[in-house]
Symmetry: C2
Subunit: 303 residues, 2 copies
């Protein structure tokens, strides 16, 4: 049996009781210490970004399906999207459901689609909220965290199906939005470097679906709409993206009709730190025993 | 148009920007202050339960479908359960998916069932984990929080489809488990009373499905397997359950073959505080402006 660096790292994390296997790739449980590192990372990012004076909001992991259909994610990334199904049957259909499960037969056809999908990216529910509550001339900056789902089961512990994004969105004029993203790319490098992580900033593209998707990805990269901060987790050659900085131009504001008071379409940008990926980068870089992490790193987290 | 106390309360929460409507019943966004109250409530419960010296773990909102089938939730509560579907098609099927969405036609048949369901109750993923990692003679107490999903769309802001449970599970001998649940029923009343909530402890039953379910519920109530702490949120006559205390006997340990070192089946009990429901109870009791909450309540939360 040949192994891979990803499987080896996962096995070491399980042995150290940092991740807990559940039998599903990309869906591990997390130890209390893993959670604490993530919480403290979150606090460090909030401290670093206090000058934004952001509003804070939180949306649950499930979102409005109609809104999600409109937002276009299913056009670009159908393979990653998840919809929520439930049981709408009567007593007789329930007996059949139970019998099928007992006998190990498929039961998907006894489920019907609900009004909800799972959120694949923290910022989606924000756009309809801003369309509802309005955008002043000075724009808005909103800090959020969200549990997101992406259907991409993997043996790589850094590619979870369900993980948390520590997110911010800036909405306003082009000048404001572009300058804000620029500021945060530098700040992201600063915060993650202060945690001793060997990070690099680079242009990137999203995993658009199918043949047409390759064009979209090339275009995104050429226009420098997406930057990622990467850090080696299981490979020096293929470092993992642990934060991303996305300039949407008018993509979402056109879709949700978000305008500035002068009637012009607003622009947006978002940034997200992957809570689990940043935490895993810390374990990969500094070792599996947090008590032995460098004093400078512990000071930033446990200040 | 006649309204209800539930709809009125939701409207007041929206007007005060505490909850954010998303167009789906039971799936609102939360304000930063709503989140802060919930976090501080969580900390108050952790402080009150420090003598448990619990292990801490966290599991994501999606869980292993095979495990979930085994755990029997779909037998008892199929109407509340949710399964996760995704897209497994090629380029041509993707074009059809996009066309159907654009034209407003159903697209459920272009989705296939994944290996994941949504977790309806924080403690489910713990049982297979303990079966894997073992149970010493003195038992285990595990503290967790989880985002759970229940398919029961409602206009009542206290009946969300996706909410957080602040949970503990005790596994061990009958004596240990029964005494632990007893201790926590008193402690639950103490903690929530210290927050100025007019709470009551009472026996309760789960919402078992169908005709056979009525028998199960009556039996559960007669055996006092479930207690709830209730608090008026939108009605004095029908107070809302904001915490529950459940004695499972050998239900889960038989299912997952969890034994004590002497070879006997262990027993389990769990307790959960509904983070959103407790927070809503605080707003309903003390008003929508946290700055004006009684000094004694603020002291417990913001100590």
């Amino acid at each position: 049996m040949s192994s891979t660096p990803e499987v080896d790292f996962f096995d070491r994390l399980v042995e150290a009781k940092i991740l807990l296997p559940t039998g599903i790739d990309g869906l591990p449980g997390r130890s209390g210490m893993f959670e604490e590192v993530g919480d403290r990372l979150h606090k460090a990012i909030l401290r670093a970004g206090a000058d934004d004076q952001p509003e804070t909001m939180h949306f649950p992991p499930a979102i409005n399906r109609k809104m999600f259909e409109k937002a276009g994610f299913l056009k670009s990334f159908p393979q990653l999207a998840a919809s929520i199904f439930s049981f709408y049957g009567n007593d007789a259909q329930h007996r059949e459901l139970v019998q099928r499960i007992d006998e190990g037969h498929p039961w998907a056809d006894l489920q019907g689609m609900t009004d909800c999908c799972l959120n694949p990216s923290a910022c989606y529910p924000l756009y309809p909220e801003v369309a509802r509550s309005g955008l002043p001339a000075e724009g808005r900056i909103v800090a959020m965290w969200a549990y997101v789902f992406r259907h991409e089961p993997s043996k790589d512990p850094a590619r979870m199906q369900m993980f948390r994004q520590l997110e911010r969105v800036c909405l306003g004029t082009q000048d404001k939005v572009v300058a804000w993203r620029e500021k945060w790319m530098n700040r992201g490098i600063e915060v993650l470097s202060s945690l001793g992580l060997p990070v690099t900033l680079q242009t990137a593209a999203d995993p658009f679906f199918g043949r047409a998707g390759r064009m979209l990805a090339a275009n995104q990269k050429e226009q420098k709409l997406k930057f990622e901060i990467t850090c080696p987790i299981t490979s020096e050659e293929k470092p993992t993206a642990i934060a991303s900085f996305n300039y949407h131009q008018e993509h979402f504001t056109k879709m949700f009709n978000i305008k500035l008071p002068d009637g012009s379409l607003a622009q947006t940008a978002c940034l997200g730190f992957g809570q689990e990926r940043c935490t895993l980068a810390l374990y990969a870089t500094h070792g599996l025993d947090t008590a032995k992490w460098p004093e400078s790193v512990r000071k930033v987290l446990w200040q």
